[in-house]
């Protein structure tokens, strides 16, 4: 059953988009320039499409207040309703939805210490955090539509935000998160739609499936990166080592022939040499790298299909002779 339906919906940077999303977690991976802001605005009912149709739970959120009441949303820019303190402002947002006690909602995202703070002192990011706390406190929502829920949200711990979002998805709510960060897309999980220049380029069952097939790189942080780099150069399994003395004097970026074993090789070498590795983590491909790889894959598939279509059929006579 589709909860969110877009039929030829066009607005701002978006080309006419057709999309159907059911219950569960869906991530829209794309930058604002790709139309992610516009798409979130349409789904939240704060914008109306120039053409086409948007439906959430079967009705247009742009013209149906009852539907908007059941959509928990977070936009890139948030204005707050009048209210002198954070608690009062959050109370207004929750009161309109018939939600829980605002103090309870603040406590659930570890923002209780904001309660008496004057609303006028909140920064842009803090306003988003407050609206996010209201969104997470929505009772029985039809859908959650969140723009960058894991970034630029001061005060709310990332793990808390992630757990709450995934809990909604697990309850069967349609959760749509837009992000420009492949790392956040990985953390969120769920199916991923790649947005590129206003259109949906492709869909993948999870974020890693969109990553380019080039070897994964590992960022290693330690006290003696040059020593480790020298030792790693002797290993055949390591293909490249990047070291930037000026920008990251305590970091090495290592790329191995076998991505899965590169981290183990790094740790083994460091252990033998008695070097203490502080941190090691995979370097995510950037959004641009993912978009370029996807565009290349689509073009490759198109050319292959074209070649097959125009290739002359084998001559049966020649085959028999």
């Amino acid at each position: 059953m589709s909860v969110v339906v877009l039929r030829g919906a066009q607005f701002d940077l978006l080309t006419p988009i057709n999309l159907e999303l059911g219950p569960g977690l869906h991530t829209l991976l794309g930058s604002p320039g790709d139309g992610s802001e516009a798409l979130v605005g349409l789904l939240a009912g704060s914008q109306r499409p120039r053409s086409g149709r948007v439906a959430v739970g079967g009705r247009d959120p742009g013209t149906t207040p009852e539907v908007r009441r059941s959509i928990a949303s977070l936009l890139p820019e948030e204005q707050l309703p009048p209210g002198r303190s954070v608690l009062r402002t959050l109370g207004l947002l929750l009161q309109a939805r018939g939600g829980p006690d605002p103090a309870e909602a603040l406590a659930s995202v570890e923002l209780s210490h904001w309660a008496s703070r004057p609303t006028a002192t909140l920064s842009r990011a803090e306003r988003r955090a407050l609206v996010f706390s209201a969104a997470l406190a929505t009772r029985a929502p039809i859908a959650l539509v969140l723009y960058e829920p894991l970034a630029d949200i001061p005060g709310i711990p990332r793990t808390v935000a992630l757990q709450r979002i995934q809990a909604f998805a697990a309850q069967g709510v349609c959760v749509v998160c837009a992000t420009a960060s492949p790392e956040d897309a990985m953390a969120l999980g769920g199916s991923v739609w790649l947005l590129e220049r206003g259109r949906l380029a492709t869909r993948a069952p999870h974020a890693a499936a969109l990553f380019p097939s080039k070897p994964l790189r590992w960022r290693v942080r330690l006290g003696q990166p040059r020593e480790l780099g020298g030792l790693l150069l002797r290993r055949q399994e390591i293909s490249t080592i990047e070291y930037d003395l000026a920008r990251s004097p305590r970091e090495l970026v290592v790329c191995g022939v076998d991505p899965a074993h590169t981290a183990l090789i790094v740790l083994e070498v460091a252990c033998h040499a008695g070097l203490r590795v502080e941190a090691i983590r995979a370097v995510m491909p950037s959004l641009e790298e993912i978009q370029a790889a996807t565009a290349g894959a689509i073009r490759g598939a198109y050319e292959q299909a074209y070649q097959q279509a125009v290739r002359p059929a084998p001559d049966p006579g020649a085959a028999s002779s």
Binding site: A44, G45, S46, R48, G62, T63, T64, P65, E66, R68, R69, S70, S73, E78, Q79, L80, P81, P82, L92, L93, Q95, A96, R97, A134
Partner: protein, 223 residues
């Protein structure tokens, strides 16, 4: 919470702005100042009336601009519309409250000008009741017109265009002057009637303009 409650909250917050109070005091001082300069002059009351026709639209513009928060009229209600408040009804309530505020404040401006010059301009001075009525209907009709204008344009600047058109076209008496409050205000203050209508029709025309502008603004905003 319903749309009326939401509108009251927004309107109260927007009205409690010291800058708006400062603008009202400036408007009042300009009326009283002109009255003081014209003290004892036979044309004093007429000059005050002329000034009022200029001050009331500007005051109504400032009021609506403050209520709209510098953007389209619906933007002030948008944070609550996102959580399920009806935009259309909220904007109607907001506009009605702005019209009442503009009517009251314009009536006060008019009464102050009348009181200052009362008795100095002899029989040409109108009755207080008429002055209050003209001030109130003038203020409300300008608030409605500029409120309608604030639903046009990305930043709600349509009010400026309507105000300019009112100043340009509202001085005539032809059919071109018919949609503009200025024409009927001038008629109520003793100028030639628009399209030869009877003198009493000015008040009725202003009330119709208020209703039409408010209704049109409501139609333009989705629920």
């Amino acid at each position: 919470m319903n749309s009326a409650h939401a509108s009251v909250l927004v309107f109260r917050e927007r009205l409690l702005d010291p800058r708006l109070g400062g603008a009202f005091v400036t408007a009042l001082l300009s009326v009283l100042g002109t009255a003081a300069l014209e003290w004892g002059s036979a044309t004093g009351a007429i000059r005050i009336q002329t000034l009022r026709i200029m001050v009331v639209p500007l005051w109504a513009y400032l009021l609506i601009a403050r209520v709209a928060g510098g953007g389209p009229l619906s933007s002030s209600i948008e944070p609550l519309a996102r959580v399920g408040i009806d935009r259309r009804w909220s904007v109607v309530w907001l506009l009605v409250m702005a019209e009442i505020a503009a009517a009251l404040s314009s009536a006060i401006l008019s009464a102050c000008g009348w009181w200052w010059t009362h008795g100095t301009s002899g029989p040409s001075s109108p009755a207080l009741g008429a002055v209050l009525w003209v001030g109130a209907t003038g203020g409300a009709s300008y608030a409605a017109l500029i409120g309608l204008g604030a639903t046009f344009g990305r930043r709600g600047r349509g009010g400026v265009i309507l105000l300019v058109l009112d100043w340009l076209l509202g001085t005539g008496v032809s059919a071109m002057a018919a949609p503009w409050p200025r024409a009927y205000l001038r008629q109520l203050l003793g100028s030639e009637p628009v399209m030869g209508l009877p003198p009493w029709s000015g008040s009725l025309a202003l009330l119709v303009l208020i209703l039409l502008s408010t209704g049109w603004a409501a139609v333009r905003i989705p629920p």
